[in-house]
């Protein structure tokens, strides 16, 4: 069995206040986020759902501090976010492991950046995601699922107070997905970080999240904000889950397809 690290002390709460954002695309300004206000409590697991290209990844980049928003503010515990920081770690859709670092080197990235030496926590994170024995493997020697696990370990090693997940399981085969969903859920419950996850899979959102936020097509506006009051251990064919699923698909304009 995998040893469970101690629950981290302070999950981070976030306050998004009237966020506007946009990009110049082909010389034309294109609004992407339209007046997004969202209050995320510490320890919540928020799933973001919306049509592709609506601006979900953009919102995550703003929360991570990789770009400043054009309008509005993002507060983390009442302090405006001014840049990226290791308390808010992003796990991207692609594993984006550095090919010139071994699995171990990739997982230790956060430590290297912080100038910290803590091999024990690197080993623990690798073991946690089930990659023990692959520490010295190069990324090109990993399967897609293993690479995504390594990326998860690389994120966890920083003990993030918010874990920001951008379709982290989107490219995995369905069986690997199921395993990773379970592990993600277990990690979130054990560690107690705040999780913000973009997914295109309604069922995944329903299984993992404590709250689902639904966005309109671009420019993204919040069109639904649904608390999921279900027990932490959910079953895929729970009738309440199926009701919610129907509701959300209707919100997304797919009432006929579910």
């Amino acid at each position: 069995m995998v040893t469970t690290p101690t629950r981290i002390a302070h999950p981070l709460g976030l306050e998004l206040d009237h966020i506007d954002h946009g990009y110049m695309i082909g010389g034309v300004f294109t609004p992407v986020l339209d007046d997004i206000s969202l209050s995320i409590a510490p320890g919540e697991f928020v799933a973001l759902l919306g049509p592709s290209g609506c601006g979900k990844s953009t919102l995550l980049r703003l929360i991570a501090g990789l770009e400043p928003p054009h309008g509005g503010t993002i507060l983390a515990e009442d302090i405006p976010i001014s840049g990226p920081g290791p308390d808010r770690i992003v796990m991207f859709q692609d594993p984006t492991l550095y090919p010139w670092r071994t699995v171990r080197g990739n997982v230790a990235l956060g430590h290297d950046i912080a100038g910290r030496k803590d091999p024990a926590s690197v080993d623990a994170a690798i073991e946690l995601v089930g990659l023990k024995g692959f520490e010295r493997a190069w990324p090109h020697q990993l399967s897609g699922g293993m690479a995504q696990r390594a990326a998860l370990a690389r994120a966890l090693v920083n003990d993030p107070r918010v874990l920001i997940l951008d379709e982290p399981l989107g490219k995995l085969d369905s069986l690997t997905r199921l395993t990773m969903q379970t592990e993600l859920h277990r990690l979130w419950r054990d560690r107690g970080f705040t999780a913000i996850m973009v997914t295109h899979d309604v069922e995944e959102a329903l299984l993992l999240a404590t709250r689902i936020v639904v966005f309109s097509p671009r420019p993204a506006r919040i069109i639904a904000d649904l608390p999921i009051d279900l027990p932490p251990h959910r079953h895929r064919d729970d009738p309440r889950l199926l009701d919610l699923r129907k509701n959300i698909l209707t919100q997304l304009g797919h009432s006929a397809d579910w």
Partner: protein, 333 residues
């Protein structure tokens, strides 16, 4: 283990079942060829020693002794079972020297002095080794300084071009103006405005190595997946880390292409610089040999130079293989 780079007929053979058998698979046929290598060189020694020379060539007996020594060494290597892949080459070389010896030293079929005998070549190494070695060291010294500085500057400038808009604004036009110019075109000017011809040559060698390195480093850095930066930035990485620990390693495969190209241009520049200005080095030696119609010396210098160049390229590839050991596959030099 990977399959050998140059498959030798005796090492890879097809068994009747159609499978490819290596080494242990064909024990009955394999060990024969390595044992032929020694005798091929003994043959060269025998021909050299017993067959009278067509003219009064120097060092015939020493050459025979050298061939004999090589034959012995090859026999020992065969006994140690270390020769299998290289055996065909060892045999071919032994027979080649035999043929050369017969054609030129014994029968004198080709016009002298443009075509020498093996003993002429050996004589140069035996009598003039001090000056040859000295020239080699001078060339290497010039290369090391010029190429080293050029390579380091090239990587630094390439990173600057790839990462900083302002740097690119100012430096790019200069690079575009000066870079494509063959460094040797600047030689006459450099020898005039730089008082020391050695310094002038080093500057041109730096230019020769610097341009390809700069361009390929730049293109390597420009091609770095922006997501690599995002990953590090979200963990709090600052610019220094992004440059040295993300951009640089990510661009490394390209940088080595630039270093390799720069090495080639440096060789060319080195030879011309030594022929035109620096009164030392292999290029100078070669020109001196030509002036005195000392053709064997020229061949000897050419041989040393080609060994130097291939040695340096091999060294570069060894470094590359080590630095880029994370790559899935790489060219085998």
């Amino acid at each position: 283990m990977s399959s050998p780079n140059t498959p030798s007929p005796n090492q890879t053979a097809h068994t009747p079942s159609g499978q490819t058998a290596t080494k242990s698979g064909t024990s009955s046929r394999r060990p024969l060829l390595p044992w032929v290598a020694g005798p091929a060189w003994f043959l060269a020694a025998l021909v050299t020693w017993r067959w009278p020379d067509a003219d009064d060539f120097p060092d015939t007996n020493q050459l025979a002794a050298l061939f004999c020594t090589i034959g012995l060494a090859l026999t020992v290597t065969a006994a140690l079972r270390r020769l299998s892949a290289r055996a065909p080459w060892a045999i071919a070389l032994g027979l080649g020297f035999t043929a050369w010896e017969i054609i030129q030293a014994k029968l004198l079929w080709l016009p002298r002095p443009f075509f020498g005998t093996p003993q002429d070549l050996l004589d140069v190494f035996l009598t003039d080794w001090r000056r040859l070695g000295d020239s080699l060291l001078h060339s290497l010294g010039l290369l090391a300084v010029g190429y080293g500085i050029g390579a380091a500057l090239g990587v630094a400038i390439g990173i600057g071009l790839g990462r900083s808009l302002r740097f690119r604004y100012w430096v790019r036009p200069l690079i575009r103006l000066i870079g494509p110019l063959p460094p040797v075109a600047l030689l006459p000017l450099a020898f005039i405005i730089i008082p020391s011809s050695r310094l002038a040559s080093e500057a041109l060698l730096a230019l020769a190595a610097g341009f390809p390195t700069t361009i390929l480093t730049w293109s390597g850095v420009a091609a770095v997946d922006p997501a690599y930066y995002d990953v590090a930035r979200t963990m709090g990485a600052r610019n220094r880390f992004l440059v040295l620990r993300v951009a640089l390693p990510a661009a490394m495969p390209q940088i080595f292409v630039g270093l390799f190209m720069g090495l080639g241009v440096s060789f060319a520049t080195l030879v011309v610089a030594e022929m035109l200005g620096v009164k030392s080095g292999l290029g100078f030696y070669m020109q001196w040999a030509q002036g005195w119609a000392a053709y064997p010396n020229m061949y000897a210098a050419l041989l040393v130079m080609s060994l130097m160049c291939t040695g340096l390229v091999t060294l570069l590839f060894k470094v590359r293989d080590r630095v880029l050991s994370w790559q899935k596959d790489g060219l085998k030099w």
